[in-house]
């Protein structure tokens, strides 16, 4: 019964006209800035953080949360339409969203993305309301050995991400791992592969690589087509919307799986939405009857990861608010904002500041509704972005990408790095090397190394803890299960193929 009392408190706070307005402003401005190519949620929040300083804490947090998921969705729009992921978690939606846009189904992809986000997010909010403290307690059982095993499971599950040549996929994962080793070694503080350049001391930011390998490469590819458009624009009318909603009705499985995966990964402090989207994508690919559709515009490849992304972002608020421990850099910024208002996040927040906590939870849901209401009518407008003449569109995208990359660290060095990655990305794409596995290597590599080394440090070099700690052992068993499943199914397929060949020969 407490839940209902809390909820009515939450909604009474969130539905006050002023807070509703802040929520709407946050969502709108967040979407508008997030939709700029190359500018992700991190940059958007950093730009808009000072705007919230004058507000009271509840209003400010509601607005920041609005900006956060507004910019997440904005990022998804440009990822689908222009192949420019401004945030690690939206890289995956490019894989099938962009091919859909190229086939003239950009509007459809945007509807699926919006609805999947909404459903995934709403389900996550319900779980946050009911189980937040319990989930937070469980999350505390995870330390480096568990994270290491979880990342290995994630990496194994996401291995299906690569398309085409297996060897080329592996080569690109290794390239990503290699790039991930650049920077200061966490355990000893020694600089690795920085060539005495201070600009490399903190490693290479994901966004710079993604922009070079995905966005700029794609622009150059389009320029090669000499006047011929590779982006097909189609009008998006009311009839298309109803058709899109009908296609969404077939995505329930993908959305629910995405939600489950997203919530699990998001609720653990220190994992966040990125891994969730990678794993959700692989999950869809492995349950699909015909996995060859993936990478060419499979709707499940948009629905699953988008649901996972939003559900993980919302679940990520659990450790942030209940423990005062941010799950990622964006959450760290939100916590910083709380401190400005004199609220110290921690286990006491739910009890000491019920208006803040429940108001925020209620506004999360209202914000998601607003986001949907705002964006469904706008989808036609977004899809029309593709009708802008290329001589205007491409220079502006490049400009925004440069602004986005510069805004990460306020450094021109990063723009030079972007140019380098653009050239490398283009050459590799010409040679048919897939780009997604590099991102996987770059994101997961440093995390795996960090957790492995810390686990061994804490255990004084004893490897057995990976098997004696129960959560870690279960995760590793699951990994083994996946490997065995893949091997067995490959052998079976080979056998069936041989049997077919033999029958054909006999006939």
């Amino acid at each position: 019964m407490d839940l209902f009392a809390n909820l009515s408190l939450g909604f009474s706070v969130a539905l006050s006209p002023a807070n509703l307005l802040y929520c709407l402003v946050g969502v709108t401005v967040g979407t508008l800035i997030g939709v700029l190519p190359g500018i992700g949620p991190m940059a958007t929040i950093a730009i808009l953080l000072p705007v919230t300083f004058g507000l009271d804490p509840v209003a400010a947090l509601i607005m920041l949360a609005g900006i956060y998921y507004g910019s997440m969705y904005g990022s998804a729009i440009t990822s689908i339409l222009l192949n420019t992921p401004g945030h690690a978690a939206s890289a995956v939606v490019c894989l099938d969203g962009y091919p859909l846009a190229r086939n003239g189904q950009g509007g459809l992809a945007l509807v699926i993305s919006a609805l999947s986000s909404f459903v995934g997010g709403s389900l996550a909010i319900i779980l946050v309301m009911t189980f937040a403290p319990m989930v937070a307690e469980f999350g505390l059982r995870f330390s480096s050995p568990e994270y290491f095993s979880m990342l290995i499971l994630g990496l194994t599950a996401a291995a299906g991400l690569s398309q085409g040549s297996f060897i080329k996929g592996i080569a690109m994962v290794l390239l990503g791992l290699g790039i991930g080793t650049v920077g200061t070694d966490l355990t000893s503080g020694v600089q690795r592969f920085t060539f005495d350049n201070w600009n490399l001391a903190d490693g290479i930011n994901f966004v710079i690589l993604a922009m070079g390998f995905f966005a700029v490469t794609e622009i150059v590819f389009n320029l090669e087509q000499k006047g011929r458009s590779t982006l097909v624009h189609t009008r998006f009318a009311m009839a298309d919307l109803t058709a899109a909603v009908r296609s969404f009705a077939r995505m329930w499985g993908a959305v629910l799986r995405g939600f489950g995966i997203g919530f699990t990964f998001g609720a653990l402090p220190g994992s966040g939405p990125t891994i969730a989207t990678f794993v959700a994508y692989s999950a869809e690919k492995s349950v699909a009857r015909d996995s060859s559709r993936f990478g060419k515009g499979a709707l499940e490849g948009v629905a699953g990861p988008e649901s996972a992304n939003n559900s993980a972002s919302i679940a990520g608020l659990i450790p942030t608010l209940t423990l005062g421990v941010p799950g990622d850099a964006i959450m760290a910024m939100m916590l910083g904002a709380l401190l400005i208002f004199g609220i110290t996040p921690g286990p006491g927040v739910i009890v000491d500041e019920p208006e803040l906590f429940w108001g925020l939870v209620a506004s999360l849901w209202i914000g998601n509704v607003l986001l949907l209401a705002l964006n469904i009518p706008l989808i036609g407008v977004w899809a029309r972005v593709l009708t802008i003449p290329y001589k205007l569109l491409y220079p502006s995208i490049l400009l925004f990408i440069c602004i986005g990359v510069f805004s990460i660290n306020n450094r021109t060095f990063d723009i030079g790095l972007l140019a380098l990655f653009s050239v490398v990305g283009y050459v590799l794409a010409k040679l048919d090397f897939p780009a997604a596995p590099v991102l996987l290597g770059l994101i997961l590599g440093p995390m795996i190394e960090d957790h492995l080394r810390r686990a061994l440090l804490m255990g004084r070099g004893d490897f057995s803890m990976f098997f004696t700690r129960p959560i870690s052992a279960i995760l590793l068993l699951a990994t083994l299960g996946i490997v065995i499943y893949v091997i067995v199914s490959t052998i079976q397929q080979a056998r069936q193929a041989r049997a077919r060949d033999e029958t054909e020969v006999r006939q």
Binding site: A46, L49, V190, D196, N199, G324, I340, G346
Partner: protein, 322 residues
């Protein structure tokens, strides 16, 4: 509007030319405060809280810019080589005085390349343990570490940070052994401390207090030389068995070396007034930091002492990088 600006600028230029026989006037129109850490961290928040009142006091627009990287080195380097007319300032944390001992290839000289302006704020660190650790005081913790030299790990926000070196200072002054376990930032380290995966940590007081109140952590002492006013019952580490121990985190404001005399005087006056003001006291109390009191040459002496102290700690801990 633009026309007005041009007019105003022309007027200012004419004034400037007229005054150029004397020293250039301070304050300049715009003052940039570089924060060498990402947006949202304590240093960033302090800079943004300071920007408004400082701008009002000096009659200039104060802009905060984040240039993160390499433990504050990237942003410090930027200011070290910036124009020394008082338009470029640096607000940075204890890293600034730890780095010279830690890194032998700094692209600047920490003592020579900066003008020390003021000590803005202090944050005490606290020695905390997970409640399962059988130690209720600093003395009991030392005893425990001596009985089982392999048994205790302590977490930190990364190699060379103030909460790592607070621990190293503690080790070298007590002669005990604790294994240092670095994390990518204070937050993940705190998570592992709350989960009991690491038993001991030195972390900033504002972060640990809510966990101590809810019983998830036990506080053994504060790292400052004197007790903290908000926690009068918690002993300092010095009085609890490690005489002479002191290691607060602090935040200082600097400019490039060779600030003109009038810039120095204006900044000194403005900061002396601000740091003693009711407004800053209230704001800083909200942020759980204490206003600094040292301005100008007093602050310069303090910085020199701190560099020497941390160099000693780094050497005895053997954590020198590169």
């Amino acid at each position: 509007m633009n026309g007005f600006k041009t007019l105003a600028a022309t007027g200012l230029l004419a004034l400037g030319l007229a005054a150029s026989a004397q020293a250039q006037s301070y304050p300049v129109d715009q003052i940039h405060i570089t924060v060498p850490f990402p947006a949202g961290g304590t240093t960033d928040i302090l800079a943004r809280e300071l920007a408004g009142p400082l701008g009002e006091e000096l009659g200039a627009t104060v802009i905060v810019e984040n240039r993160p990287g390499a433990g504050g080195t990237v942003g410090s380097n930027y200011v070290a080589h910036a124009n020394a007319d008082g338009s470029q300032l640096l607000l940075t944390a204890t890293h600034h005085v730890i780095n010279p001992g830690l890194r032998d290839n700094l692209p600047y000289d920490t003592m020579e390349d900066f003008s020390e302006v003021a000590l803005i704020a202090l944050v005490p660190n606290a020695l905390v343990v997970h409640p399962d650790v059988p130690a209720n005081s600093v003395a009991e913790l030392i005893e425990l570490a001596k009985e089982d030299p392999d048994g205790l790990n302590f977490g930190s926000s990364g190699v060379g940070g103030s909460n790592h070196l607070s621990g190293e200072l503690f080790k070298s002054m007590t002669g005990i052994d604790m294994l240092h376990v670095p994390y990518p930032g204070a937050a993940p380290a705190m998570t592992d401390l709350l989960g009991g995966h690491i038993p001991v940590m030195f972390d900033s007081l504002p972060t640990v207090v809510p966990h101590v109140q809810s019983g998830k952590l036990r506080i053994l002492g504060v790292t400052t030389a004197e007790r903290v006013s908000s926690l009068p019952d918690v002993p300092t580490i010095a009085e609890a068995g490690v005489p002479g121990y002191a290691a607060a985190s602090w935040f200082g404001l600097y400019g490039p070396a060779g600030l003109p005399e009038d810039a120095r005087t204006s900044l000194d006056a403005a900061l002396t007034k601000l740091l003693g003001s009711e407004e800053i006291a209230t704001t800083f109390k909200k942020l759980n930091v204490e206003p600094g009191e040292l301005v100008g040459s007093d602050f310069e002496t303090f910085v020199a002492d701190e560099i020497e102290k941390w160099q000693g700690v780094v050497k005895s801990a053997g954590v020198e990088l590169q």
